[in-house]
């Protein structure tokens, strides 16, 4: 079973996402800020990261930059989850991001994009 790391500051979203991912047969764990998210990335090396762009301690692109510098975790794909579509322009050019999901999250969209990145 593939594992997915959810990094989001809102616990409600995490919980709902976890239920949903479970139905897709993915295992998931979560972090509520950027730093602990990076720690978990390094320690547990998930197959995919679902990242909320706005975090209390750092912005999504900063986290991505740090991830890029670390060879261990560099290749773990990231799907950005954001409420505002404008964020999409920020890091598009750099090939650090696998895909985007815009809030509110539709289950079909979520499933399709995750499967496209890491398979079923």
């Amino acid at each position: 079973m593939k594992t997915i790391l959810i990094i989001d500051d809102e616990i409600d979203i995490i919980k709902v996402l976890q239920y949903r991912l479970k139905t897709f047969n993915y295992d998931s764990f979560f972090a509520q800020d950027g730093h602990s998210g990076l720690e978990l990335l390094k320690s547990r090396k998930p197959d995919l990261v679902l990242l909320d762009f706005y975090l209390p301690d750092m912005k999504g692109d900063e986290l991505l930059k740090q991830k890029e510098l670390d060879q261990d975790i560099k290749n773990i794909p990231v799907i950005i989850i954001t409420a505002s579509a404008e964020v999409l322009n920020i890091s598009n050019e750099k090939n650090w991001i696998a895909d985007f999901i815009v809030k509110p999250i539709s289950p079909e969209d979520l499933k399709e994009k995750i499967q496209k990145v890491i398979g079923a």
Binding site: D12, K15, Y19, D57
Partner: protein, 622 residues
């Protein structure tokens, strides 16, 4: 006052007044000059008259002396009667000749006892003794007596002589033989000869007169005919103390002088006067002041005419000059008036290179500038109007959207509630957790929509306010009770520091409570440990409320953003805070609506104090 009148008066004062002043000064000088010169003439005439009189009298006295000392007369008087007839034939023609030559009225010779020996005219046939008291002629008698007494020539007064039945002057000269008085020669000077002297009015113009008078008891008696009064001789008399004939009064007081006086007619005259001691006469030469001043008046008239013409020309000049100065000012004034009414297109024509032109250029430039400003203001106004329109549209949009959002929220919430309450079947734990999440977030969405609507209403001033007299301490107590339990739960000390006897404020209690709840809600959210204190105090004419916490504090750069809507703070510590960003903006609107102030003081990691003040209600408190 108009500048024109100011200039006009100024120029009149500077130009015309000195001119007129100079005119008056010159007139006065000229007047003095005329009086002085004419006085000199009158004095000259007077001296001339005196000289003539002197000559006249000395001529008679000399003649009398000469005849009296002639040997033939001496012989005639001392000879016997028989020889007398012969002598008479010799002396008589001589006397006649004398009378004719010297224009003597009469000549007579008397012996030392007074017997008239020989006479001409009225005395020719007279056989009388002149020293006889029966002869009623005091003038002649006194003259003879005086001559006999003094032994020298004597001249009588000028007076009426009954013997000749006219006014006469007698000159008596003693006839002596070996220093012994043997007789007397008497010559009568006729009045018309005296009169003739004073009938000469040369240099005296049309009104000039020569007056001769003597004092007779307490009167001034004029003794010659006068130009204006031909019968005056011995007819005209004036009281010595009267206010008339003042120059003659001076003369008879033995004074000599000249000046402006009042004559016997009561007219003002320029006169010269002197006393003539030989005859005890007063002499006055005078001329009417009116005649003296006539050339002056004539000249004055001429001068006034010239002055009038000059003054008129000056005034016309002043008017033209003043107009020339004020006309451009008037044009400027009219132009400025036009500007006042917004006619900015009118420019002032500039014809000169003076200060006015500078001013006009300034005004033209100002008008151009104003026009430009007006255009930009118009544009700005248009922009503002457009923006207002946009704001309004936005507000309406938000209002509609919010209302539309509210509607679906209700069934969502209600549906979740029904399932959660297990009204439609039992739920397992996972179901409950998910539904709780849904419920919590739908409530959050509901609150958020409500706040947007509240704020929109406040901004559009559509929120109804119910103002009442209230005690702020009551409100603080109320929120204290509200938050007491959550304080205990969070293990935070909640304190009340209320000033006693605070005056009332006039406010909407519910709205102020909303502010207090918002403040306290924030305080609780950002305070992990320590205390929260509710403080009330009186500051001047305001009541101040402070909600003080020992929380995380706020960065200084974020403080100005606190009361604005949807402002993102840079503070990373707040990223997980899921507020609407409207709470404090609503508080500010509410407090401002109460004419109060809202503000924050904060120190990072030490805590924040949120304040608001409300003006005390003076009317209700007194």
């Amino acid at each position: 006052m108009k500048i024109f009148y100011k200039l006009f008066i100024g120029f009149i004062v500077l130009g015309v007044v000195p001119f007129i002043g100079y005119g008056f000064f010159s007139f006065e000088q000229f007047y003095k000059f005329v009086i002085r010169e004419e006085s000199k003439v009158l004095q000259g005439v007077l001296q001339e008259k005196v000289k003539i009189l002197n000559n006249f009298f000395y001529k008679f006295m000399n003649n009398a002396n000469l005849i009296a000392h002639s040997p033939s007369l001496n012989q005639f008087l001392s000879s016997t009667i028989q020889k007398k007839t012969d002598l008479e034939n010799q002396v008589k023609p001589f006397l006649h000749y004398l009378a004719l030559e010297s224009k003597i009225a009469n000549a007579l010779i008397i012996s030392k006892n007074g017997t008239l020996i020989l006479g001409t005219g009225k005395f020719e046939q007279c056989q009388c003794n002149l020293l006889n008291d029966q002869i009623q002629d005091p003038l002649l008698l006194n003259c003879i007596k005086k001559t006999f007494k003094t032994g020298v020539s004597t001249i009588s007064d000028f007076f009426y002589s009954p013997l000749v039945d006219e006014n006469a002057i007698y000159v008596a000269s003693p006839i002596k033989k070996d220093k012994e008085l043997i007789g007397c020669l008497i010559l009568q000077i006729p009045e018309n000869q005296i009169f003739d002297i004073f009938k000469d009015y040369t240099l005296l113009g049309n009104t000039g007169e020569s007056l001769v008078a003597m004092q007779s008891e307490n009167k001034i008696l004029f003794i010659t005919p006068i130009r204006h009064y031909p019968n005056s001789a011995f007819n005209l008399s004036i009281d010595f103390d009267s206010k008339l004939a003042t120059p003659m009064q001076q003369a008879l007081k033995h004074n000599m002088g000249h000046g402006i006086m009042v004559d016997y007619r009561g007219k003002k005259v320029l006169a010269a006067w002197t006393y003539y001691p030989l005859m005890n006469w007063g002499l006055v030469i005078k001329m009417d002041l009116a005649e003296v001043l006539k050339p002056l008046l004539k000249m004055s008239l001429y001068l006034i005419l010239v002055a009038f013409v000059i003054v008129t020309l000056i005034i016309i000049g002043i008017i033209i000059f003043s107009k020339k100065i004020t006309r451009p000012l008037k044009i400027l004034g009219e132009a400025v008036e036009q500007l006042k009414f917004g006619n900015l297109d009118k420019t002032i024509p500039i014809k000169s290179h003076d200060e006015i032109a500078v001013l006009a250029t300034g005004i033209n430039e100002m008008a151009a500038g104003l026009k430009q400003s007006m255009t930009s203001i118009e544009n700005l106004n248009m922009e503002i109007a457009q923006r207002k329109e946009a704001e309004k549209a936005k507000a309406e949009f938000i209002s509609i959207i919010s209302h539309e959002l509210r509607t679906p929220i209700s069934p969502i919430k209600e549906g979740i509630s029904l399932v959660l309450e297990e009204k439609v079947g039992r739920l397992n734990d996972e179901q409950k957790e998910l539904l709780n999440i849904a419920d919590k977030n739908s409530t959050r969405l509901h609150l958020f929509i409500n706040q947007i609507l509240d704020f929109q209403k406040l901004e559009a001033q559509k929120t109804p306010f119910r103002f009442n007299q209230c005690n702020i301490n009551d409100l603080l107590n109320e929120v204290y009770e509200m938050f007491k339990t959550s304080a205990t739960k969070k293990q935070i000390e909640l304190n009340l520091q209320l000033s006693k006897d605070l005056p009332f404020v006039f406010c909407d209690k519910d709205k102020i409570l909303e502010v207090l709840i918002n403040f306290l809600g924030n305080a609780f959210e950002y305070t992990k440990e320590g205390s929260i204190t509710l403080i009330s105090s009186l500051k001047g004419e305001n009541i101040e409320v402070e909600i003080k916490d020992t929380g995380i504090g706020i960065y200084e750069e974020d403080i100005p953003k606190l009361f604005e809507t949807f402002k993102q703070l840079n503070d990373k510590r707040l990223a997980s805070r899921k507020g609407t960003g409207l709470g404090l903006a609503i508080c500010k609107k509410i407090i401002n609506f109460h004419k109060g102030e809202i503000w924050v003081r904060s120190e990072i990691d030490k805590g924040s104090s949120f304040y608001f003040s409300l003006p005390i209600n003076k009317e209700k408190n007194t």
